[in-house]
């Protein structure tokens, strides 16, 4: 696992992002870029969850999109078929994906490393196949966000609401990473045996961090359903799981601020070369490889490029999958 956790004060990244967001929202006339900004915010929330789970706690998940899907489909089902309000439906949706996340956490107790990666991948695939078989048409007509009668569906307003949520989650996760719980999940990642000897209940910690990551994935899925208005399984395929992973890796493992940067970068990067539209996915793959090879700390570590080289190159024997 990467050895560095950025040590900026917890309030720095969130405030900074908040300022940039309001600036962006105010100046944006183009509805299109507002939408992309909203989408990157929605993915950022799930990416923060994944960076806590994978970056901070070392529990890999290749099926995170399935959790977003569960929340999005629950939201659509409750609002379209049962006329529930967007917010109450959201609460149920987030609860649903958190519950599934806790089950995945229970799986993480029995197996680790590669096998955990495969179980989460299998979960993601089961979700896509199941929804494609049972609900090929998905859902349409999901109402925009509204609290009671207050309609927050206007793109500019929704953009600010989503990014307010991002800032909130960013502050929370930055504080979490630095708290006692944050240290215990880092210990779990670095050396489970030593962590247990220090009094960390591995089972409860793993299930808890899976629960947090799934709750955030649920919020992301809920907001996605409200943003998109229509929900089908194509939006929650393994491609999204891989993209979330790429956001977390290029943002810098374990750094919530990095996850936000990774999400914004991945959603907005294609805007750079609009003419090279078809090279988009190819570039994601290449960027991932470059970052893995050159920048283990991810984009957030650019400031630390002169980081002290790892003095003791630990010749780690191939212990069982980390």
């Amino acid at each position: 696992m990467t050895r560095f956790l950025p040590k900026t004060a917890p309030w720095v990244a969130p405030v900074l992002v908040g300022v940039l967001v309001l600036l962006f929202a105010a100046t944006q006339d183009s509805f299109y870029r507002l939408q992309l900004g909203t989408l990157s915010g929605i993915y950022a929330i799930a990416a923060i969850g994944l960076t806590l789970l994978f970056g901070a706690a070392g529990q890999i998940s290749l099926g995170q999109a399935g959790l977003l899907g569960i929340a999005a489909f629950s939201t659509a089902y409750l609002t379209v078929d049962h006329g529930m309000g967007p917010v109450p439906a959201g609460i149920v949706a987030v609860a649903a994906s958190t519950l599934v996340g806790l089950v995945l956490g229970w799986c993480a107790l029995r197996i680790t490393g590669h096998y955990l990666a495969l179980v989460t991948l299998a979960f993601g695939l089961v979700f896509t196949e199941l929804t494609r078989t049972v609900l090929p048409e998905g859902w349409y007509g999901v109402p925009p966000l509204a609290i009671g009668s207050l309609d927050l569906g206007d793109p500019q307003v929704f953009f600010v609401v989503v990014w307010a949520a991002v800032v909130l989650v960013l502050v929370g996760s930055s504080l979490l990473v630095r708290s006692r719980f944050g240290r215990s999940i880092a210990a779990l990642r670095d050396d489970p045996v030593a962590a247990s000897a220090c009094g960390v209940d591995l089972a409860r910690t793993k299930v808890a961090v899976f629960g947090i990551a799934s709750a955030l994935a649920g919020v992301s899925g809920w907001l996605f359903a409200l943003y998109q208005g229509s929900v089908t399984e194509t939006s929650f395929s393994f491609t999204l799981s891989f993209n979330l992973l790429i956001m977390v890796v290029i943002g810098g493992l374990g750094s919530p601020g990095g996850a936000v940067v990774g999400a914004v970068f991945l959603v907005l990067a294609p805007e750079l070369g609009r003419r090279y539209e078809e090279y988009r996915l190819l570039s994601y793959g290449v960027i991932l490889l470059l970052v893995l090879a050159l920048l283990p700390g991810g984009l957030a570590s650019i400031g630390r490029l002169v980081a002290r080289p790892l003095r003791r190159r630990r010749d780690t024997p191939v212990e069982e999958p980390a």
Binding site: A13, S30, F31, Q228
Partner: protein, 389 residues
Amino acid sequence: MWRRLTAVLATAAVSLSLAACGGGGEGGDGSGETGPIRIGAILGISGRFAFVGEPQKQALELAQERINAAGGISGRQVEFVVYDDEVDETKSVPLANRLISEDKVVAIIGPSITVPALAIQPIVERAQVPNLTLTSKAIWEGKPDSYVFHTTPREEVEVKSVLDFVKDQLKVTKVGVIYDRQPYGTGNLAYLKQFAPEYGLQIVAEEGIENNDTNADAQVQRVRGAGAEAVVVWVGDPAASSVAKAIHQAGWTVPVIASSAIAGPRFAELAGPAAEGAYSNSTYDTAAPPPAQKEFLEAFQARYNSPPTQFAGFAYDSAYALKAAIEAAAGKTDGASIRQGLIDMPPLDGVVATYDFSAENHNGIPNGPLFYIVQIKNGAFQVVFDTRK
């Protein structure tokens, strides 16, 4: 500590500024009275439905060249801005917004497939940008002031032509259906089951398949087990050709009727000898095409040296429908004028049919029979029956 602060600051600022300056590229306002008229298009060019989107993109390129060569629309050149949504509505929604607010297009053609087409409907209605949707499923909900128009035949038309052919020409009663598990297949399956009794036919088996599947042994085996005397295949390639191959390999001689999705050269190319004898629906009378169709078939063949599929025809007709609409609106290119232009324009003799929109009927193609039944004879589709007569 400050080093890290600058790091996060730098990268976040860079990323967000990407958004600010990113798409600034094409300046100019497409809907102004001067400069080129920009018409947007969202097609499934890559991914699972490339066989639909690719020919449509080619058809629009051909239309742009021919319209501009003939003096453009009301004296202004036309430019088609074509985007690929890979048939994923997560992409079609932002692309629609990009066309409207960034590229300032006057109208949008497409998307080609049902799910993205439904997804962008609220966007075009809110932005009041006329949308000629290319999906066969009925998207227009009947509201006269809607901005959505169809330049494709309604699904029932093709279903009825298939059922009619099975009853009268093949003279069998038990039919097995292998359908695309996506809305394109499930929608038409529903129509098949609805109208089959009217033609005295019985649907004895329904087997779902994924458009990209390259093995259909299981589906064919189960349809055969159900006693089907004819197999209706409502899915695109490569799945359709896999069904033909599975039937051929199982040594089962049964008539196969596929939907117009595969009425093109690729089906025989993929299925090889297994394609021989398979029927399909086509909107082209390749033997004696009417004048507009003949000109398009020859121009497309010359430009891309491969015969156009019906999907290309719909896209080409949409381009000319918009041309006629703008001319009917005396060159005005705001959304409302074009919408009214589509309604007021004289009937358009298009490649596929004669288009006539009205406030009450946004389906350009009349509801009557339209298709020719075609059959693969030594590797190519030939017209064998005209459902119109």
